[in-house]
Amino acid sequence: MQRKSKAVLLPSVLLATSLVVSACGGSNDAGSSSAPASGGSSAPASSGASSGAASNGKELQLTLAFIGLGNMKEVGLVQDEISKITKAKINATVKLMPIDIGAWTQQVNLLLAGNEPVDLLVTSSFFNYSSQVAKGQLLPLDDLLAKNAPTVKDAMEPAIYNSTKINGKMYGVPSVRDTAADHGIAARKDLMDKYNLSFDNVKTYADLDPIFKTIKDNEPGVYPLVQRSQTNGIANELVRGYTDYLGDTPGVLIIENQDLKLVDLYETQMYKDALQQARKWYQAGYIMPDAATTQEGNNSLIKAGKGFSYLSNMKPGFATQESTVNGREMVTASFVPPISTSDSGTGFMISIPKNTQDADRAAQLLNLLYTDKDIANLLANGIEGKHYVDAGNGQIKSPEGGSNYVFNQWEVGNNALTKVWQGMDTDLWAQTKAFNKNSTFSKALGFSFDSSPVKTEVAAVINVNNQYKAGLESGTIDPSKLDEFVKKLKAAGLDKIIAEKQKQLDAWAKANNIQ
């Protein structure tokens, strides 16, 4: 590595210089919106680099930690390319730190608990956003953004942008992506075609039975339905399209009710039915027996030819995206129309952790992620000519023989700036915008629950969840155990959590004038 980096030093300096010159010269397109942020560098083009550098003092290496998906083998190359741009604009190089999703919660806890420098971090209400804020691990962003990234808010729906606030302060900026989601199934096209199957007559999840049966009977060794992860059980997928989970604690809203009255999901008829459905599929042999303990995710199972389909939340262009990730062509069908939930904004955000070396510089990098087309493309798709090639029509495709950087991200920055893959509609981002806008919005969009007043109960509930959820929702355990599960949840303080959540929700609704 050392030798290599020396060898590329000279050319990279040359390239960086030329990039700076060209970026500053033609800064009317991508670079322009980011120019004000790079330290007031509306300076003349020729001195652009040096003035940005001067206002930012000494050079820093900013670390961006995010969830590593797909193939990240050549992340180092992408990092070098991005660093060339950021070096010129904000006098900082970038260290990309992909962390495997399976290890995400643990690694981030360790990162934040220790003193390792992390300057930008992907945060999510699925991964303890509220408790990270409660523990003071993330910095409030309002002032930092106003100063360093004033145009970021224009990149998304205002309701989404404002939805990350906790106690009136922002701690994360949502990524520009599909903030709404519809729900359905993704399945392998080769097998669908082989047995002449189609989703045309499938209107609900229950209608999937005959398709699963065909696969089960004719393709030994292929599981008709696999789970996306241990904790993303089948039953969970079945109810998610109809509910707003309001973060990672008990107490949910039913979207179609359009109200602010929390219910205990585990005691709803819908959840009971979902468990029955999952159990039925499990007993029919459609779900793998060790679904609840396996460490293998859906993508690797499909890739290895051991799985046929999985349930998922979806978005425009989902089939193409999944085909790339799985290395097999996929077809999708949606059964539940799109919804935007309270965490549509908070689902994936960029935050600045307490551990940052320089909050202002981190905010400047954040700004670049939302406004610089080149950086957005590098991060999402890799290096042109190496990780993707031009497919004409403004679209891109995989290079011959695949590549070692396949990210397909949705979690970082402004994805609407990225090039569209071949197979997707060229107006994908326009479609996505409309999809987001036309979804059914949860009444509680933007509400974040602060669990610290009931953290004792939350800790106890997590332990009960660990014990039952994966087994029940994968159909591995008989649904008759649900009563026991609910009883233990109650003993652990479930009702107290829901009461506290309702209290906060009511206060939030009152403060925001929501009926």
Binding site: Q106, A292, T293, A460, N466, I477
Partner: protein
């Protein structure tokens, strides 16, 4: 202290100064490694806020301990920890002594060395690998038991990782398989040290093998047994994390029988990220462990003063 007392202390210091000097690095290490971090005990009583730092965070009394005792968790993990480790101590000792005596009787030098190595081998394997060895036995559909053994006996396949009732036995067997070898080597060394004349005399007096073992071998290695057992009891509250976390593949339904204090604390810190609560559990572990060591030492001291640790 009297004058002469001081004088003799000073004399001793002077006389053994080289030895005392040698003690310094060890003490310094012990102090830095084992005593300085005790400052962190206060974390268990604080509402840790990273912005405020450890000292600046608010005191919240015993609130961090509440979640342990709110459900039956504290009871279950304490029970599991003590019962498992207690039975491990007994079984390991019995098995190790048995195997050591058998090994001692093997006349062929080569065979004895071979057996010894084979028995020791599992001790050297990482628990993560052991976890997957067990999986290869118990996996729902490709495991040896479900695929070959149970059908042969006409028994329906069992979802091993979802049936808590089997796990006390599975864990015990795995731990025996892994842990016996090490202890066995220690006992074997003690047995080899016994003077052969005892046995010759016993043989002449007409004592059988069984009699010799009971009246010569076991009493003569009793000090070794006591020390090893006391050391083990001292650590009875520290479970083999790998055994209880890796081997059951962290399967939820097994938690009532596989959750011990270490795994509980680990899960707490990892999924919740709450240092305060985890410290509380850790402190609880240390306290009960401390009491247990005092108690067992007291019992040993009552029976024979020489064998007690202090």
């Amino acid at each position: 202290m009297t004058r002469t007392g001081w004088a003799s202390t000073f004399k001793k210091l002077k006389r053994y100064r080289a030895l005392f000097l040698m003690m310094v690095p060890g003490l310094a290490y012990l102090f830095m490694n084992n005593y300085l971090p005790m400052f962190g005990v206060i974390i268990a009583f604080k509402d840790i806020n990273y912005a405020k730092g450890i000292l600046g965070s608010d005191w919240i009394g015993f609130k961090n301990f509440e979640y342990l005792f709110m459900t039956k968790d504290a009871l279950v993990i304490t029970r599991n920890t003590i019962l498992y480790n207690g039975s491990f101590i007994v079984l390991n000792t019995v098995f190790a002594i048995g195997v050591a005596i058998l090994l001692n009787e093997v006349r062929s030098k080569f065979a004895a060395r071979l057996y010894q190595s084979v028995i020791l081998l599992p001790f050297l394997i990482s628990m993560v690998i052991v976890g997957y060895l067990v999986l290869s036995m118990l996996s729902a559909e490709s495991g040896y038991l479900n695929l070959n053994l149970l059908p042969m006996l006409g028994i329906e396949p069992i979802s091993w990782y979802f049936e808590p009732k089997y796990w006390p036995y599975i864990l015990t067997i795995v731990q025996l398989w892994k842990g016996t070898g090490y202890l066995c080597v220690i006992f074997l060394a003690a047995i080899i040290g016994i003077d052969n004349e005892y046995y010759e005399a016993a043989t002449i007096d007409g004592a059988g093998k069984w009699h010799q073992i009971r009246s010569i071998t076991v009493p003569l290695i009793a000090p070794t047994i006591t020390i090893m057992t006391l050391l083990a009891i001292g650590r009875i509250f520290y479970s083999d994390f790998g055994l209880f976390y890796q081997v059951p593949l962290n399967s939820g339904p097994l938690q009532p029988v596989t959750d011990v204090i270490d795994t509980y604390v680990y899960r707490g810190l990892m999924t919740l990220g709450d240092i305060g609560m985890s410290s509380a559990a850790g402190l609880y572990q240390s306290l009960v462990g401390f009491v247990l060591v005092l108690l067992s030492n007291y019992i040993v001291a009552k029976r024979s003063k020489e064998n007690a640790l202090f």
